[in-house]
């Protein structure tokens, strides 16, 4: 579904990612672990089209999307749930979801946006209760649900999730990951960047370890979870 080959990207003159390659198969859940500053966010933002890579290729469903805009990538089914959630704080929950479907509402209004919103509300009933509340007034967990719901409104087939557990209580993290696993069970492909490595590896079929902008290890989620080097470096065990 997603194939990244030798991706080089960074900010201004600073190169952060050095020839990163990885793959996500159809319906697969892949996780990306790495310490602070390893380049996880930079990688996901480059995949979403927010940063132009200086070298390398990104293929989505076999097509080269390296030079496509964020909006064109959304149309093909690639959506990002950003680090820190970044909901539109002054806007209501409903308006946030509507913005998630922006590309389907502008310039032409497509069918099915209202039913997709009901689907998101069914997935996260707490959002339905707060539909007219300003997103900035939601709890951290609710904002994460909204950020995921907003991405789902674009009807993605591959969801890029950047640290969905960041700053949340363990119970809320469990809840969010349960929903993520459910989405995956229903066929959604996932690429999840996480510092909460044990949680992420447990729910992922495959894992990549990123260090200083390069992939240093990869393997089945369960294998990495039991690998001594990974356990020592990223799981604090």
């Amino acid at each position: 579904m997603l194939e990244v080959e030798g991706l080089v990207a960074g900010y201004g003159g600073t190169e952060i990612l050095h020839a990163v390659s990885l793959k996500v198969a159809h319906g697969q859940s892949v996780c990306l672990i790495g310490a602070n500053g390893a380049g996880k966010t930079t990688l996901l933002r480059t995949l979403a089209g927010l940063i132009r890579p200086t070298a390398g290729r990104i293929f989505f469903d076999g097509a080269d999307i390296t030079n496509l805009s964020t909006s064109a990538r959304l149309s093909r089914g690639l959506a990002l749930v950003p680090e820190g959630r970044r909901v539109f704080a002054p806007m209501t929950v409903e308006e946030n979801l509507e913005m998630g479907a922006f590309r389907r509402l502008w310039p032409r209004r497509a069918q099915g946006v209202a039913s997709d919103r009901d689907m998101v509300f069914a997935l996260f009933p707490r959002l339905a209760e707060r539909r007219r509340q300003a997103a900035g007034l939601l709890s951290g967990g609710e904002q994460q649900m909204l950020a995921i719901g907003r991405a789902l409104m674009g009807r993605p087939r591959l969801l890029l999730l950047d640290e969905p557990s960041m700053g949340l209580a363990p119970k809320v993290v469990q809840e969010i990951f349960a929903t993520i696993r459910r989405l995956n069970a229903e066929g959604m492909s996932l690429l999840i960047a996480e510092q909460n490595a044990s949680m992420a590896l447990r729910s992922a079929a495959h894992g990549y370890v990123l260090a200083e902008g390069a992939v240093v290890r990869d393997g089945a989620g369960a294998d990495l979870l039991h690998d001594d080097g990974v356990r020592a470096a990223y799981l604090g065990l």
Binding site: S71, P82, M91, E95, E98, M99, G100, F102, A134, G154
Partner: protein, 293 residues
């Protein structure tokens, strides 16, 4: 009785002026929301609105058509200004955009002077230069036009920002540019659109106030200053704040000139601006923004 009549008259003229300030303040706020910058060219668009209407009135026999054409034309000037000066910026932060608009205002003023001339121009009110009398209170018919047109424009703007997907995209980009880009909004286009809307609002203000004041190429700075003060008074970036700030400033000026002297009219805006900056910098309607957890 005599004084009540006089006060009502001052009140109506204050509301009329206040409506004009509200439109200019709205222009400031729309650009501020989308870029974080103060748009110093805002006042020049007010002048253009009046001067272009004056020019077109000869061509289009109808005042209404001339006003619409002038406002649309100046709206296009706003869009072009953004494309030529803001969009090409490599690092478009608020301070840089603010500085660029200072240059834009100077160039706009020179162009207006060269193309439209140095002489103040004017035209009759939309119902002629008539005054209506309400139980002894005489009100300029143009003041009523100003109030009605401003109200209609505000209703349209409110509907645009609250009901249309494009308006919501503008609000979303103002709240979080990166998040807006993530959902597929072209953030550069939202800045372009905000300059267009600001120019429309400014031009409309100029087109409706010119019958009462005349328009001249060098008035941009004072209009800009009044609009800026009104925006600060109401709360920078707040659209209802533009209305409240505009009306409050218009009324303060009207009553100030009545009780003190009309020579102090422009000083009143400055005094109000200083007072609000000293006492309540977030403005009358300003509140601590809703922050992300």
């Amino acid at each position: 009785m005599q004084t009540t009549t006089a006060l009502l008259q001052v009140l109506s003229s204050g509301i009329g002026t206040g409506a004009v300030y509200a439109l200019v303040a709205l222009g400031f706020n729309v650009v501020f929301k989308s870029t974080g910058a103060m748009n110093f060219a805002q006042g020049e668009w007010v002048v253009m609105g009046g001067m272009v209407t004056a020019l077109l009135i000869g061509t289009f026999s109808s005042v209404g058509l001339a006003v619409v054409a002038a406002v649309v034309l100046v709206g296009v000037v706003g869009l072009l200004s953004e494309r030529l000066t803001v969009q090409p910026l490599k690092r478009p932060d608020a301070l840089v955009i603010t500085l660029v608009t200072i240059g834009l205002s100077i160039v706009s003023r020179s162009l207006v002077m060269l193309v439209l001339g140095k002489k103040p121009v004017g035209y009759a009110g939309f119902s002629g230069n008539t005054a209506l009398s309400f139980g002894g209170v005489s009100i300029q018919s143009q003041t009523l036009w100003i109030i009605a047109i401003t109200l209609a424009f505000l209703v349209v703007m409110h509907a645009f920002f609250e009901r249309t997907i494009l308006g919501k995209a503008l609000r979303a980009a103002a709240a979080d540019r990166e998040a807006a880009a993530i959902v597929g909004v072209n953030v550069g286009s939202t800045v372009l659109l905000s300059f267009g809307i600001a120019a429309l609002a400014g031009a409309l203000a100029g087109a409706i106030v010119t019958p009462l004041t005349l328009a001249s190429y060098d008035q941009g700075a004072i209009f800009g200053f009044k609009g800026f003060s009104a925006a600060m008074l109401g709360g920078l970036g707040s659209l209802p704040g533009a209305v409240v700030g505009g009306l409050a400033l218009g009324l303060l000026e009207a009553f100030g000139s009545f009780y003190i002297s009309s020579d102090f009219k422009d000083a009143i805006a400055f005094a109000v601006l200083l007072l609000i900056l000293f006492v309540r910098p977030s403005g009358l309607l300003g509140r601590a923004d809703i922050v992300k957890v």
